[in-house]
Symmetry: C2
DNA sequence: ATTGATCTGCTTGTCAGACAACTTTTGCCG
DNA sequence: CGGCAAAAGTTGTCTGACAAGCAGATCAAT
């Protein structure tokens, strides 16, 4: 049963408070290093209990906006909000334009990872990719769901770069688009040949990586990502102005 | 007075609880969609008050591990922990190897951003870059601190891509290395010519971007990042374009 | 018997007050 | 003036309570 998206945000008191304080910090009303008003003051000001204020501050602490010291107070961090990167706001909005931007970011790191994987892969890395490829082959043959294997394949490439930070970021970006892989591996996707087409792209990527061909791996990844973008209805010509002479390569007139 | 880094984590009760539950989720003890034990149960199990449990769960909610519904309970998210990306663990560790990985990720997005900026920049974007460049020029001439202008320059390039997600990510990555810009703009940095060298790199990037030369902008950014990496003692041999079969773009001269 | 509404227990959200642990300021005394 | 102890203030934790909302059980009606 499909989950109904809640249109109206439930009025969470603590969320209201934390968002307000977050705005204060963003607007510079509360500069880095400055001490926040006391919990008692805030609770009086917002007209809520101290528990709500504590919950709001707890959220701000988790997101790296503030830090609190017992007995002293809560202070704005030196680089507020820079402890973690989140694009939930972009994706949750379901704004097509925002999704284009996020997908472009994914495109950038995926293509770079393919090139690095071609240079640095080890035998076990290749084995992981091959195993994921085979599972997708089986899914294509059986018209089954290969979304998980698809995900695993991209993660295996990221792992082959030997860069855990890059690997974690690609995994992060991939999860943002996990739902978008459904149309590819659905019954309609199989019927329309989308699954087979995606698999062909994966095969090209794998061969280039296995051959140590960094440029080829990047190009194969680029094509694969462009196809995926088109399946999502993303207008790729805006970021791919030269279909014949690809992409970011040569200088424009 | 310099702040002493606290070596021993102060025993935060709520942090202990949240870390434990986070581990449960990571280990699969609590699978996605599963309902957490009730707050009353948890508080009894951990031997703490319900307020502490609520604070711990509040943190888990902020980090996207769980979501709670009033009257029903708290449930593990479908993709726990994938709401935000953080590499604080890597950087905080001050592990040189980890920093190499993070810097490589920054290298990937910065070079891509330079190429995109060359294609998409507007006049105001160029003005912002030019303004930051001038401030750095003044800093070089006066042997002053140009770290902020340096940061602003890179952010201006990111803004010129017209991709807010990419912009935010570059800003995020840049802040991770804000401290690393100190040796460039310190007195020793000026004396050793590091500030002037960095500024020359910025100038090359700006000219290529202003000319709409995507490949040139990418290459200038690559060189700039390689120099910065070398100053940090990072091995960049995999970043160099391959002599015969160049890295991504077209044949280099 | 199935369906529908209602009821009851349970869980989270919020409130209030209190004490403990700790920090900062104040004020006294040498 | 300097050092030290008391005091005031702040966050961390505990306790108890009630409101708001949910899920399953109960029960009535067709």
């Amino acid at each position: 049963m499909p989950q109904i998206a809640r249109l109206t945000r439930p009025s969470q008191l603590s969320e209201t408070v934390s968002k307000t304080i977050e705005q204060w910090i963003a607007d510079g009303v509360l500069a880095p290093g400055v001490k926040l008003p006391t919990e008692k003051t805030l609770s009086a000001e917002f007209g809520v209990s101290r528990a709500v204020v504590r919950e709001a501050i707890s959220r701000l602490k988790a997101e790296g906006y503030v830090a609190s010291r017992q007995g002293a107070g809560a202070f704005v961090e030196a680089r507020p909000g820079q402890a973690s990167f989140r694009l939930a706001d972009d994706v949750d909005a379901a704004d097509p334009a925002a999704m284009v931007h996020v997908f472009e970011l994914r495109y950038i790191v995926e293509t770079a990872a393919a090139a690095l994987a071609a240079r640095r892969h080890s035998a076990p890395d290749l084995a992981r990719m091959r195993e994921a490829l085979q599972r997708m082959d089986q899914a294509v043959a059986a018209c089954a769901d290969g979304a998980q294997a698809d995900d695993d394949f991209h993660v295996a490439i990221a792992a082959a770069t030997g860069n855990p930070a890059l690997q974690r970021f690609i995994r992060f970006m991939g999860h943002q688009f996990f739902d978008s892989r459904v149309p590819t591996w659905s019954a309609q996707g199989h019927a329309a040949g989308r699954a087979a087409a995606a698999q062909a792209g994966h095969q090209r990527m794998f061969e280039a990586i296995a051959a140590g061909d960094a440029a080829g791996a990047r190009e194969a990844a680029r094509q694969h990502m462009v196809e995926a973008a088109r399946r999502l209805g993303i207008d790729t010509k805006d970021w791919d102005p030269a279909p014949q002479a690809p992409w970011e390569e040569e200088a424009l007139p």
